[in-house]
């Protein structure tokens, strides 16, 4: 049930604007796969091709061996678009009942499924009985996520899911994503919220200029370090040897501070220990750049086409 993208190309305006250029990816079953990149990079076009909304100029997309247009695939697909437009005359409950019916889910389970979905996204009964035109942006986004998760889909495509949501909503969305991941669904997440992406994704592709510039594994086997900034109480001794001993890299050094690239939390702890052992008076260690920020800023730092995540989704 893997999602396979092979040599996908897509252009607009009669070929003058190339949105996707020879993109190949394999997303394993149960994997949470992030797509990041600057505006206009081709992320939404990629998602459009994955959902069968756009016809590629070349290449193919298959989901579990079938076309994204296949109704059996769509029956098991959940989707939250970036620009969520709903039938504003419906109430929240009616909207979810409508999508539950469109998804061909059993009518006998409808009332219970809708109530559960509303509870999951934190929409109270009074709010869900209001017409959608009276919803705030955050409420719309919660309702949109509730419809995307109706019927426990196998493939979930989320385009900026936490856009316009308050901090409590962001935390809730992250928890829901982790729940979806725990039950083995495959999630494709397009988001600018790098911290969110880093926390929930197994792998992340950095897309720019219509191409996948880099793919980074977020957990074990990460190829890209994150950066920590260390502040010293007094001028430190030479830092390079301590960094080398700890398996870190010295990125830059000032009079009383320095930036180090570390692979993970354990490497950061080893670095601090090595610095203290070398006689440095460590006053503070703070994260300076997350992995994804580094990926965003230095996409060339990781190999462009690593293999799909083994055993992703565990």
């Amino acid at each position: 049930m893997t999602l396979v993208i092979e040599r996908l190309s897509k252009s607009y305006r009669g070929g003058r604007v190339r949105a996707l250029d020879d993109v190949s990816l394999t997303i394993a079953e149960g994997e949470v796969f992030g797509i990041i990149g600057p505006n206009g990079a081709g992320k939404t076009t990629l998602l459009g091709c994955l959902l069968g909304f756009l016809r590629p100029d070349a290449g193919s997309v298959t989901i579990g061996g079938a076309s994204p247009d296949d109704l059996t695939v769509r029956k098991r697909t959940g989707y939250l678009p970036e620009r969520l437009v709903m039938d504003r005359w419906m109430t929240g409950i009616e909207f979810l009942r409508y999508h539950h019916a469109l998804a061909r889910l059993p009518e006998s389970e409808r009332a219970q499924a809708v109530e559960t979905a509303l509870t999951r996204v934190g929409l109270d009964p009074a709010a869900s009985a209001r017409t959608i035109r009276r919803y705030s942006r955050g409420m719309l986004q919660r309702l949109g996520l509730a419809q995307a998760l109706l019927g426990e889909p196998r493939w979930v495509f989320l385009d900026e899911p936490a856009s316009g949501v308050d901090p409590a909503g962001v935390v809730l969305f992250r928890r829901l994503l982790l729940e979806v991941k725990a039950r083995g669904a495959t999630v494709v997440l397009n988001s600018h919220q790098l911290e969110q992406v880093e926390r929930v994704c197994d792998r992340v592709a950095f897309v720019q200029g219509g191409r996948v510039q880099a793919i980074e594994t977020m957990h074990a086997g990460a190829t890209l370090a994150r950066v920590v900034r260390v502040r010293f109480a007094a001028a430190p001794p030479p830092l390079e040897p301590a960094a080398t001993r700890a398996g870190a890299t010295l990125e830059s050094a000032g009079e009383r501070d320095a930036r180090f690239g570390v692979g993970d939390d354990a490497a950061a702890a080893r670095l601090v220990a090595a610095l203290v052992q070398a006689g440095a008076q460590v006053a503070e260690v703070v994260p300076d750049e997350s992995r994804l920020e580094r990926l965003f800023l230095h996409p060339g730092a990781v190999p462009p086409s690593p293999p799909p995540a083994p055993g992703a989704g565990a």
Binding site: A19, G40, F53, Y79, V85, W89
Partner: protein, 236 residues
């Protein structure tokens, strides 16, 4: 046919105050006139316009407001969507015609001149056939342009249907006369049951009507099948 889509479409139309007002105007004034002075069923509002009010923008508005993406992420085939929209519009307009007919017949009865069962049958059949035909043509136009552009497209086709035969006759260009007549058939698909009853069954009339309805729906299905759905900018 997807009945979830059909009933959602009907509810959507009922939720539009502008459409409700337009229906009230088109159907209400003739009814008021009948209540005041009596008359025949032919006084009632035109079924074509009722169908037009119900069906205008039936696909184009979904495209322009972006609701199609959520819809087509569901297991709904595009042909099923198109046919459900057409059927919903026909059902909505048909229900209005039945209501109008009931009120009109009641008004006529108040003036001691109730319609005959034959008149009622012909009015109803003509109205429903007109509604189904008009809804099919609007479905075609709405699959080609976004928003309410279908109304503009139909207006242009109607004006061409009126003027081309005039120009063709003046210049002696038979092809232009023919084109104009075909446009008129396309914009006003009509099968007059009264004429069929009085003059006998006509395969020609039936074929012209059915080919317009089926042809319009087939082209609409192709157009929707070919349509790409994206909110990605052309720069992305």
């Amino acid at each position: 046919m997807n009945y979830t889509l059909v009933f959602a479409f009907l509810r959507q139309r009922l939720a539009s105050p502008l459409r409700v007002i337009l229906v009230a105007v088109v159907a209400g004034f003739p009814l008021l006139a009948m209540l005041a002075a009596g008359g025949s069923l032919s006084t009632l509002g035109n079924s074509y316009f009722l169908a037009l009010i119900v069906s205008a923008g039936l696909i184009g508005q979904d495209v322009s407001n972006g609701t199609l993406q959520l819809l087509f992420a569901r297991p709904v085939s595009r042909p099923s969507y198109v046919l459900s929209r057409w059927f919903g519009a026909t059902l909505g307009a048909g229900a209005l015609i039945v209501l109008e007919l009931a009120l009109g017949a009641a008004a006529m009865a108040l003036h001691h001149d109730p319609p005959t069962p034959g008149d009622v049958g012909v009015f109803l059949a003509n109205g429903v056939l007109m509604a189904a035909g008009a809804a099919a043509v609007v479905t075609l136009a709405s699959s080609l342009v976004t928003g309410l552009g279908d109304l503009g497209l139909l207006l242009v086709a109607w004006l061409l249907g009126l003027t081309l035969p005039q120009i063709g006759m003046a210049r002696g260009w038979s092809w232009m006369v023919f084109t104009g007549e075909q446009l008129q058939h396309l914009v006003w698909p009509q099968l007059d049951v009264g004429t069929l009853v009085s003059r006998g069954f006509s395969w020609h009339d039936l074929t012209v009507y059915l080919s317009t309805v089926i042809g319009s729906l087939a082209i609409a299905v192709v157009a929707v099948n070919r349509r790409e759905l994206s909110y990605a900018s052309a720069n992305a």
